[in-house]
């Protein structure tokens, strides 16, 4: 076996949709990439419009080759196991047939395995450490970091303290974390926003990256606090002071209920992963040493606070494995860990179902 190239990913989605027409829908996203590539999302599971949705992204960062392959494997596994009425086992972690049915019958799961195909193609054929997309930025520089381009505290130079060390750049020639000229300037970003806008039942979002390994929950902008509601990303009074570690001026507000939920869900994921090969990934808040702006997980979670008409979406990131490009043999084991973690994620989502 070998890593999937970008053509194979799209064909795999088409063929899964053709093989399992009763339990899938192939969704064509509206925006072509700079190099003209069309990408697709495979929706699997429940067709009941009242059921909760889960959005799973892969391939946002080009050099992280395992996540897209893992998501194709996950979709194929869920569809085949549900069709045959079996369970699924990854290493020493088993899911019963009843659990697979529970996931497939009570959730609408949107799998978007390769969000940034131009970047992946460039990484797989030219510069293996390429991270961004391939949009020209002028001045001879190329690429925007999709995971700094979402509309969440995007203007980091205004929203964060100057000495916060926020992980983002306004320099179009920054090799890794250029945020782009405006929020959601990139086709790849707008495709994800389109999915969230057009699928109001989506209540869960997870962005699959590599390679730490770790599972991250909200927020990524500052250390969480549950006491001061005014300290939130919408409040411009805290512009230029956010993001400092261990200060007393600002912490990102999260309710105790939400913190309990994101903590419980990530712990369930970690437990499942740890049973695959005997080692878990660990769980942390997405704010580590420094803040991050414009990331998909924070954007997804922030949407309902910015606009109360929107559904609340819990946003997460999983960073899988220990290498951006492990040997294929090692990649297969990482894929098993990711699949176990994501099925546990979906099962946890069913625990908090709003559809009865």
């Amino acid at each position: 076996m070998a890593y999937l190239n970008v053509d194979e990913i799209e064909s795999a989605l088409e063929n899964l949709a053709a093989a399992y027409p009763a339990t899938t829908e192939l969704i064509t996203v509206p925006n072509l990439t700079h190099e003209g590539r069309q990408t697709h999302v495979l929706r699997l599971g429940s067709t009941n419009a009242e059921h909760d949705g889960v959005l799973i992204l892969g391939g946002v960062h080009a050099r992280e080759w395992v996540p897209p392959d893992a998501l194709i494997s996950l979709a194929a596994d869920l569809l085949e196991a549900f069709d045959r009425g079996t369970g699924l086992t990854y290493g020493d972690k088993g899911f019963a047939a009843s659990e697979i049915s529970q996931v497939m019958q009570s959730l609408s799961i949107l799998v978007y395995p390769c969000t940034n195909p131009d970047g992946r193609h460039f990484s797989q054929t030219a510069d293996p450490q390429w991270r961004k997309n391939r949009s020209p930025n002028g001045a001879g520089c190329v690429g925007v970091d999709i995971n700094r381009n979402f509309d969440f505290l995007w203007d980091h130079s205004v929203k964060f303290a100057a000495d916060s060390g926020v992980s983002a750049s306004a320099d179009p020639c920054d090799r890794n974390v250029y945020r782009g000229p405006s929020p959601a300037s990139e086709a790849e970003t707008r495709n994800v926003v389109w999915l969230l806008d057009g699928s109001p039942r989506i209540r869960w979002h997870i962005d699959v990256h590599s390679a730490v390994p770790i599972i991250l929950h909200s927020w990524g902008s500052d250390q969480n606090q549950t006491a001061h509601t005014a300290q939130n990303f919408l409040n411009s009074a805290f512009d230029r002071v956010r993001g400092l570690k261990d200060d007393t001026v600002y912490g990102e507000y999260i309710s105790e209920d939400d913190l309990d939920i994101v903590t419980s869900v990530t712990q369930q994921m970690d437990k499942a992963i740890s049973e695959v090969r005997g080692v878990g990934y660990g769980v942390e808040q997405a704010y580590g040493l420094y803040p991050t702006s414009g990331a998909s997980d924070d954007y997804a979670f922030s949407r309902s606070f910015a606009d109360s008409a929107r559904t609340k979406v819990y946003g997460f990131t999983i960073e899988c494995g220990r290498s951006f490009q492990p040997t294929w043999e090692e990649a297969e084991d990482v894929i098993r860990e990711v699949c176990a973690g994501l099925i546990a994620f979906c099962l946890a989502a069913t625990e908090y179902s709003t559809s009865g």
Binding site: A2, Y3, L4, N5, E8, S11, E14, N15, L16, A18, A19, H61, R63, E64, W65, I72, S73, A75, A76, D77, E80, T86, G87, L88, T89, Y90, G94, Q124, A126, D127, P128, Q129, N147, G165, S167, R175, N176, S210, V212, P213, I214, L216, G220, K245, G282, E284, A286, G288, L289, T292, A295, T317, E319, R322, S323, F324, Q325, T327, W328, C339
Partner: protein, 106 residues
């Protein structure tokens, strides 16, 4: 591509303060997807991607006394090798070629 090799380095410290002192001084360009820290026992670990010259500087820097550096891999070299492990053509070009996942169906 960047000039010269880039190394994946695990930076380990006994405290977050030591780790932050190191990164504040070194200002690594690349801390992976997110500048997050994982715990390993009682220690804190950060993954950084450093060009060879910056790795040499890091080893000699003052705050490096509070941290240990372990090279995980030369990501430049590994990446070029792995490009040989990318599929050629299209394994799923035929409509009937349906992918199968790695999970055991049982």
């Amino acid at each position: 591509m960047t000039e010269g090799p880039v190394f994946h380095v695990e930076v380990t410290a006994g405290s977050l303060a030591d780790l932050k002192a190191f990164t504040d001084e070194m200002q690594p360009d690349d801390l992976g997807c997110r500048p997050v820290v994982r715990r390993r026992g009682t220690e804190f670990v950060l993954d950084a991607y450093l060009p060879e010259a910056q790795l040499d500087t890091a080893r000699g820097s003052r705050p490096a006394g509070g941290v240990s550096l372990e090279v995980v891999e030369n990501v430049t070299e590994v990446g070029l090798q792995r490009q040989q492990e990318v599929g050629e053509g299209n394994r799923f070009a035929a409509r009937g070629a349906v992918p199968r996942g790695l999970g055991r169906k049982e």
